[in-house]
């Protein structure tokens, strides 16, 4: 998987955050390999200039591994993320809403594919990633393990879940790994429609009957905390963040992004005429950041560890979809072979 198999950077560089921006390869006891040293030098220079690393460049093993993990997890999230919303396609309240929801879910499939392609440039295969996902060995965003119980959840997901995703993804357009950044640019262009359609669903419900209004408020109440937790654990409990920022992959810390997101929600919820289920939201004049009430990080860890309300169901659905789609993949190959045989016969 890695381009060079020097056994020097096995995990060591992840820890040496403070020593160098690049997480330098540690050459303890080994004769420095000139190719490796030149590669590291070039890599460091690229990062120092805030330029981009491209697939064929030399890169530290830990950087490569970290990217594969992050990009594949991101891809899995897009793919699994189709399920909570697909749940309402057949029950959308109008043909217009149904078309919109289908377009959005289709976009998420596309996002997954852009990201799998980006991860593949690092030397991992699509099959490896797929297998890891259906085997339950890969992680994906914990948010998609919550159930979508009412139509208003389509609004809350678009507004808050896609909203949080946008806050996360916009800075990733500048990620130091070229293919990841380019995939993110494409994704971000498509996300703004996702957020707006969700906001509109909530706005219409909030201005509807008392029952619809209550449904909208209930959805906001349930999705608020999980969407805030999408930014990941607090900074002092986020072991990989520092290294990721030193590598110019991540540009802002989890707490910074979360605070920014809360600030946006505060304004937008007023337009909806609804409220956030958090009476501790306030702007801290000193630190110039938005603060929020405590989040249940034990729940977050439980869900991430596979014990959330829908984890088993989500994986099972993905597995079944993959198996039930096998005949389509086989048919496509059979068609290709038949075409080839025809061409040969004609020649």
């Amino acid at each position: 998987m890695a381009q060079n198999s020097e056994p020097n950077s096995s995990g060591a560089s992840i820890k040496s955050v403070s020593s160098a921006a690049s997480g330098k390869a540690v050459l303890d006891g080994l004769t420095p390999d000139p190719v490796q040293l030149a590669g590291q030098e070039h890599f460091d220079a690229v990062l120092a200039k805030d330029s981009r690393v491209e697939p064929k460049d030399w890169m530290p093993d830990a950087y490569r591994r970290s990217l594969v993990r992050q990009i594949s997890q991101h891809a899995h999230s897009e793919i699994i993320g189709m399920q909570p919303e697909a749940n309402w396609i057949t029950r959308a309240p109008s043909l217009k809403r149904k078309s919109i929801l289908m377009a959005k879910v289709q976009d998420e499939a596309g996002h997954g594919l852009y990201l799998y392609s980006a991860a593949e440039t690092l030397g991992t295969t699509r099959d490896e990633m797929m297998d890891a996902l259906v085997a339950g060995k890969a992680r994906y965003s914990s948010i998609f393990n919550y159930p979508t119980v009412t139509w208003a959840d389509m609004g809350a997901i678009g507004w808050m879940v896609d909203g949080a995703a946008i806050c996360n993804q916009v800075p990733l357009c500048r990620a130091s790994y070229g293919p990841y950044g380019r995939a993110m640019v494409r994704v971000c262009k498509e996300e703004s429609f996702h957020q707006r359609q969700g906001f509109e669903i909530l706005l219409e419900l909030a201005n509807g009957t008392a029952e619809q209004r209550a449904m909208a408020q209930d959805a906001v109440n349930r999705w608020y905390a999980p969407s805030l937790m999408m930014f990941g654990p607090p900074d002092d409990d986020s072991p990989n963040s520092k290294q990721s920022m030193a590598w110019n992959i991540k540009r802002f810390s989890n707490d910074e992004l979360r605070s920014r997101f809360v600030g946006m929600l505060v304004e937008q919820v007023k337009v909806l005429g609804l409220t956030l289920p958090d009476d501790q939201v306030r702007f801290n004049e000193e630190s110039k950041t938005w603060e929020h009430g405590p989040l249940d990080w034990d729940e977050f860890k439980e869900v991430l560890a596979g014990r959330g309300p829908c984890n088993a169901q989500r994986l099972e659905r993905r597995r079944t979809a993959h198996e039930e789609g096998a005949w389509v993949r086989e048919a496509a190959v059979a068609y290709h072979q038949k075409q080839q045989d025809k061409q040969k016969a004609a020649a």
Binding site: T121, L122, G123, T125
Partner: protein
């Protein structure tokens, strides 16, 4: 997902199997009069299916009027390690740029 990214991939077989389809690079012309620009890559058993997949994946919002798909393994890429020697040094060749010619400054329409 640039053209050169492709050759990095381990999916080198041109022959499609049920398990692994070859990788294709997708180029999209956004408008008449413009070049095809690399949009990304995808897997497909053959060219015609790669084109259909590319349409669905990269042109859901009228992003293109024409698509090319190229087998990733057909792309030859320059070696990233030989930057210095492969690309001619611009050193000392300022005369290839219009800005080199300063004596004509102020002359109109030049």
């Amino acid at each position: 997902m640039s053209a050169q990214d492709a050759s990095q991939s381990t999916a080198q077989d041109t022959q499609a199997t049920a398990h692994r389809w070859p990788l294709w690079e997708v180029f999209v012309r956004s408008n008449r009069g413009l070049s095809h620009v690399h949009a990304g890559s995808l897997h497909a058993p053959d060219a015609s299916m790669a084109l259909r997949n590319a349409r669905d994946l990269y042109t859901r919002r009228n992003e293109g009027v024409s698509i090319w798909v190229v087998p990733s393994e057909a792309i030859a890429a320059s070696d990233p390690d030989s930057k210095g020697s492969f690309f001619e040094s611009p050193q000392g060749k300022d005369y290839r740029h219009a800005t080199y010619y300063t004596k004509s400054e102020g002359v109109k329409h030049l």
